[in-house]
Each structure stands twice: as structure tokens, then as C-alpha cells.
């Protein structure tokens, strides 16, 4: 087990190196001249040449790449092209904080909704409740954000007039409600299904029958024996699902005008701000690799038949 973890962690820098190489190559040979981006409207050939020399952009590809990696290893992700003179890290961190708050809200909402829902669905197996929950959660999981977002705006803003449309005011401002709800839908869907499956597995086990046969109240059996044990895998998954929220953030943050990582990434793609893109790709890829590793590690805990090699 620990040998496996060690070997996987050993592979992390290699994967990140490859990811950075692919991204750097795409950026280097992709469209857009960074100096043009940097200078905006005031383009001047002489100044452009000087900037190119100062920033080392006239050097061959491999030298640029090696010096970039050297910088990253020392925590220096370079400077943004678009926001002149600003270190990438200083730009990214406050936006990461915004996305983290949104992510936290999403996890809170989805946990509070999904766990009781999954529990109820599993208990009410064989009635109309269970299949309805299954269908509704499937609906939540399958309908993409760009469909639900205009729908939410139509309901909450145009019809009920209860929420502001766009913007960001921190975790406690009403602006967070719609984006958090939209992003929660998918998580609610998958968590509910997981909770349902997990509960059904626990309900069939011997200790539950024992608890029932010694005359415990059904309520006590459900909360103390079933729910507690069913929650074990869920808690792990909730913690891990943070990383996957990044996907939804691209779209939701762009739509609602939230100054987070997702909207920033999309902006940077359009303005071809490669140092920012590089940093974001590396950070997200790193969290993905760790996330994948953790999921693999959790599997044997959930199902002892799976053994890691």
C-alpha cells in the first residue's frame, strides 16, 4: 500500500512536467504574439524587440521552457502579459479564494440535500419515492449548466424577482445563491445516488438485522446503525469532489460574472495570456493528479476485494 502511494507520488512530478511541456508547446506555437498582447494598442516595433529581448522571448524554445520550469520550481510563475508587471501568483490567489468560497457553498448545499435524499430513497425502496429520486437525480446530473443557468435566471430574477442577476459579494451575499445552486445540481445528483447505493448495501447486512431483532426502534436502527455506516464512503467522496468542481466553474463563473479561477481561465484563453494559462493548467492538473490518486486509495477501503499493486 505505502509502496504504491510512494510510486504514484513519484510519478506526480513527471506527469506535471509532461503537462507543462504540452501546455508550453501549445502556447509557444499557438496563435498570438505575447508582445502584441503586452503592448495592446500602442504597438511599436522597436519597443517590441526590446521587450522580447528583456523577457527572453527571442531565445530558442527549449531555453525558454527550461527557464520557465526553473522559475516555477522557485514559486515564480512569471508575469502576466495582460496585467502588466503583475506576478501571475498574485493575480491567481485572490481568484482562487473566490472559487474556493463558491466551492464550499456548493459542497454544503449538496451535502445537506443529498444525504437525507439518498437515505430516504434507499429506505423507501419498492415505493414510488425511490424511482422518482433516481430519475430526478439523473436529471440533475445530465442537464448541463448552460441550460440550468438561464432557467434559474428566468425563475428567480424574471418571474419571482427575488435574486440579483450577476456579480459577487462574498459567501454571505445573495449573489452566491444562483451560481451555487447551479453548480450543486450535479453534485447533488451523484452524491444522492452514492448515498442511496451505500445505504442499500448497509441495510442488507447482518448487524442491521441484529439491531432490529433485539427490538431497537426503527428510528434508532436507521440513524445509529444504517446512516452512520453508509456515510463512511460519502464523506470521503465529498472531500474529493472539490477538485471536480473546477469543470463547472468555467461556465458558471463566466455566466454570472464571478471573479474566480474559472472565469479568469476563460478570459486568459481569449486574451492569450499564456503565463496565466500555464499557471492555471499546472495548478488544476496537480490537484487532479492528487485527486485521482486519492480516489484510487479510497477504493480498497470501500471494497476490500480491490487490491493495489
Amino acid at each position: 500500500m505505502w509502496g504504491y502511494v510512494f510510486r504514484r507520488l513519484l510519478r506526480l512530478p513527471l506527469v506535471l512536467l509532461a503537462v507543462s511541456f504540452v501546455t508550453f508547446t501549445l502556447g509557444h506555437y499557438g496563435p498570438g504574439d505575447p508582445v502584441e498582447v503586452l503592448m495592446g494598442q500602442k504597438f511599436n516595433q522597436e519597443v517590441a524587440d526590446r521587450i522580447r529581448r528583456e523577457r527572453g522571448l527571442d531565445r530558442p524554445f527549449h531555453e525558454q521552457y527550461i527557464s520557465y520550469i526553473g522559475g516555477v520550481l522557485q514559486g515564480d510563475f512569471g508575469e502576466s502579459y495582460k496585467f502588466q508587471g503583475q506576478p501571475v501568483l498574485d493575480l491567481v490567489l485572490p481568484k482562487a479564494a473566490v472559487s474556493a468560497q463558491l466551492g464550499l457553498a456548493v459542497i454544503l448545499i449538496s451535502t445537506v440535500v443529498a444525504i437525507p435524499l439518498g437515505l430516504v430513497a434507499a429506505i423507501k425502496q419498492g415505493t414510488w419515492v425511490d424511482p422518482s429520486v433516481v430519475i430526478v437525480t439523473l436529471f440533475f446530473m445530465s442537464v448541463p449548466a448552460f441550460i440550468t443557468m438561464p432557467f434559474f435566471v428566468i425563475v428567480f430574477v424574471r418571474t419571482l424577482h427575488v435574486l440579483p442577476t450577476t456579480g459577487w459579494g462574498g459567501m454571505l451575499a445573495p449573489q452566491i445563491v444562483m451560481p451555487a445552486l447551479v453548480m450543486s445540481l450535479g453534485a447533488i445528483g451523484s452524491l444522492t445516488r452514492l448515498m442511496r447505493a451505500s445505504t442499500m448495501e448497509v441495510i442488507g447486512q447482518d448487524f442491521v438485522r441484529t439491531a432490529r431483532s433485539k427490538g431497537l426502534l426503527e428510528r434508532v436502527v436507521l440513524f445509529r446503525h444504517v446512516a452512520r455506516n453508509a456515510l463512511i464512503p460519502i464523506i470521503t467522496v465529498i472531500g474529493l469532489s472539490l477538485a471536480t468542481l473546477v469543470e463547472g466553474a468555467f461556465i458558471v463563473e463566466t455566466f454570472f460574472g464571478i471573479p474566480g479561477i474559472g472565469a479568469f481561465a476563460v478570459d486568459s484563453f481569449f486574451s492569450r495570456d499564456y503565463p496565466v494559462i500555464m499557471a492555471l493548467v499546472l495548478m488544476i492538473a496537480a490537484s487532479y493528479v492528487v485527486f485521482n490518486l486519492l480516489v484510487d486509495l479510497v477504493y480498497p477501503l470501500l471494497d476490500p476485494r480491490i487490491r493495489l499493486r
Partner: protein, 323 residues
């Protein structure tokens, strides 16, 4: 998807009634009794066919503008109303289905074939072959899918457009760039690139498990060649999860295309895409005609729901242990 516990076909003997023979006939028999997934199969087939025969199904050209008719409420002539340029929304959805069909079918078939071949080879021969494939898969997995898609669409596509322009100039063929073929090609390639590693891992896992079964041992004992064993024994038995994965993958590929187009880096106007259509219509949310957005988002949303219901139904039938 590759991580779901993929089981083989349920033992057919446990079924109470056995009106049909063969695992596939049995699967179809079971699927036929599921009304909702069956209806969804019908709807999705209809959507794909509507896309293929779009000129006959749509009531007018998707790009025909009529500013006098802008922002019309639904009527007999325009069942879903018209957008801000007076284009018929129903026709735009029909033509958008064509784009969705082209991109999803191409990328899913490519991703499936590549994934099955890679997974089959690395599962059966293992060792050296897998040590080449695995790092590539790891890198593709390490990229968050959406990020990789956006990256490719934003950086590779302009280069392909340039290349195609040069090709047009050199050969005298014209209209390739204008027709938007490049958009379709890049989106398809990016989605396919992202699709095969998952499939490959799924198939490899299946093959690894099946390789140890007694009937494969028996086949080897009677002297079947490795190729015969793969083709006759391993692949057919590994197919069930592959089909489940394909049915989910179609919806996934359509989502990928639509999201990219929504962000403005997928299919470019004037070519039709659901993503672009919804993006353009979003501006109407601020106007009194916001209700015109309801039709398109409900129709497109239902199509996505159908993909999921179909995948789920197929999963239930082919993979009863994963319930």
C-alpha cells in the same frame, strides 16, 4: 466512467422467463420492457435523423434572417418563436442537431475504436506495450477534460485554419475554411483525444479479468493463437461495459461540443450549434422577450436528459451488478 465497477453479463440462467436465446437478444428483451429508456432511444434516434435530414425537417433555413420577424412569440409558423435576428428557433435547433450528430458520432466512434484497440492490446500483451500507453493515458487523465478541450480549441485551431488556407491557395480548392470544416475537425479531434484513454482503461480492466478465466485457458490449451483468443473470447465478453460507456459517451461528446460553442471557441457562426444558439439568446434574458429562451433550453435540456436516461437504462440491462 472507467472507474465504475464493470461487471460482465448477468448469468442468464437466473432469469425466470427465458423467451429468447443469446445474451444480446436477452439484453434487448430486457431493455424493451423499460419504457422510459426505450422512449429516450426513440427520441435520440429522431434527433439524429432530424439532424441528418435537417433540410426536410426544418421549416426554413437556420440562417435566414428576417428582422421584421425578430423576437416573435411562438406561432404556427415559428413553433418556438424567432430570435433577435428573426431566425426561426425551431429550425436552428434542428440544424444544431446536425452539428451535434456529426461531432458526437465521429468522436465517439474514433474514441471507442482507439480505446478498444489500445485497451485490448495493453490488457492482453500487457508489459511493454502498456508501459508505452500508460504514461500517455496518465497525462491525458491529468488534464482536466474541459481545460484540455479549451486549450486545444484556442491554440491548435487557428493553426489548422492557417494550414487549411495555405492548402486552399496551393490546390485551388476553395471554401473549406468558410464551410467550417476546420471547426468540426478540431472539435472532433479534441473530443476523440480525450475519449480514448477512459475506454482503453475500461477494456484493459475487462481483458485482465477475462484473461484469467477458464475458458480462455481452455482456448489456449487447444492451441488458439493470441489473436483468435482476443477476437473470439476476450473482446465479445468485454463488450457490455463498452456499450454502456458508448451510450454515456455520446451525451458527453454532445455536451463537449455545445459547451465549447457556448464559450465561443467551438463551432463558429454562421454554422449552427445549440451552444452558440443558447449563448446568443441569453442576451434576451434582459429584455421583455425572455420567455423566448424557454423553448430552446427546454428542448435541448430534454435531449441531454434523454442521453442520460438511455445510458442508465442500458447500464441496468447490461450491467446489473452496478446498480
Amino acid at each position: 466512467m472507467a472507474r465504475t465497477r464493470a461487471g460482465a453479463l448477468a448469468s442468464a440462467g437466473q432469469e425466470e422467463e427465458r423467451p429468447v436465446r443469446g445474451p444480446w437478444a436477452l439484453a434487448w428483451f430486457r431493455f424493451r420492457r423499460k419504457k422510459l429508456p426505450l422512449a429516450c432511444l426513440g427520441i435520440i434516434l429522431a434527433v439524429y435523423l432530424a439532424g441528418v435530414f435537417a433540410p426536410f425537417v426544418a421549416s426554413q433555413d437556420y440562417n435566414k434572417q428576417d428582422l421584421d420577424q425578430a423576437r416573435q412569440a411562438p406561432s404556427l409558423e415559428h413553433p418556438l418563436g424567432t430570435d433577435r435576428l428573426g431566425r426561426d428557433q425551431y429550425s436552428r435547433i434542428v440544424y444544431g442537431a446536425r452539428t451535434a450528430a456529426i461531432v458526437s458520432i465521429l468522436s465517439v466512434s474514433f474514441g471507442t475504436v482507439a480505446g478498444v484497440v489500445m485497451g485490448g492490446l495493453s490488457g492482453y500483451f500487457g508489459g511493454r506495450f502498456y508501459s508505452i500507453v500508460q504514461p500517455i493515458e496518465d497525462i491525458l487523465f491529468a488534464f482536466p477534460g474541459m481545460l484540455l478541450l479549451i486549450l486545444i480549441a484556442a491554440t491548435v485551431k487557428p493553426r489548422v485554419v492557417e494550414f487549411t488556407r495555405a492548402f486552399e491557395d496551393a490546390t485551388g480548392i476553395s471554401g473549406l475554411v468558410k464551410s467550417g470544416v476546420v471547426d468540426y475537425f478540431v472539435i472532433f479531434a479534441a473530443l476523440a483525444l480525450f475519449a480514448w484513454p477512459g475506454m482503453s482503461r475500461l477494456v484493459r480492466g475487462q481483458i485482465l479479468a477475462l484473461r484469467e478465466t477458464e475458458y480462455v485457458e481452455a482456448a489456449r490449451a487447444i492451441g488458439s493463437s493470441g489473436w483468435t483468443i482476443i477476437r473470439r473470447h476476450l473482446l465479445p465478453n468485454a463488450m457490455a461495459p463498452v456499450i454502456v460507456s458508448v451510450s454515456f459517451g455520446l451525451g458527453g461528446a454532445v455536451t463537449g461540443e455545445v459547451v465549447l460553442s457556448w464559450l465561443g471557441i467551438g463551432i463558429q457562426p454562421p454554422n449552427p450549434s445549440w451552444g452558440r444558439m443558447i449563448w446568443e439568446n441569453q442576451a434576451m434574458l434582459r429584455t421583455p422577450e425572455w420567455y423566448l429562451l424557454v423553448g430552446p433550453i427546454v428542448v435541448v435540456g430534454l435531449i441531454f436528459f434523454c442521453f442520460a436516461l438511455l445510458g442508465d437504462g442500458i447500464n441496468d440491462v447490461l450491467n446489473p451488478r452496478a446498480r
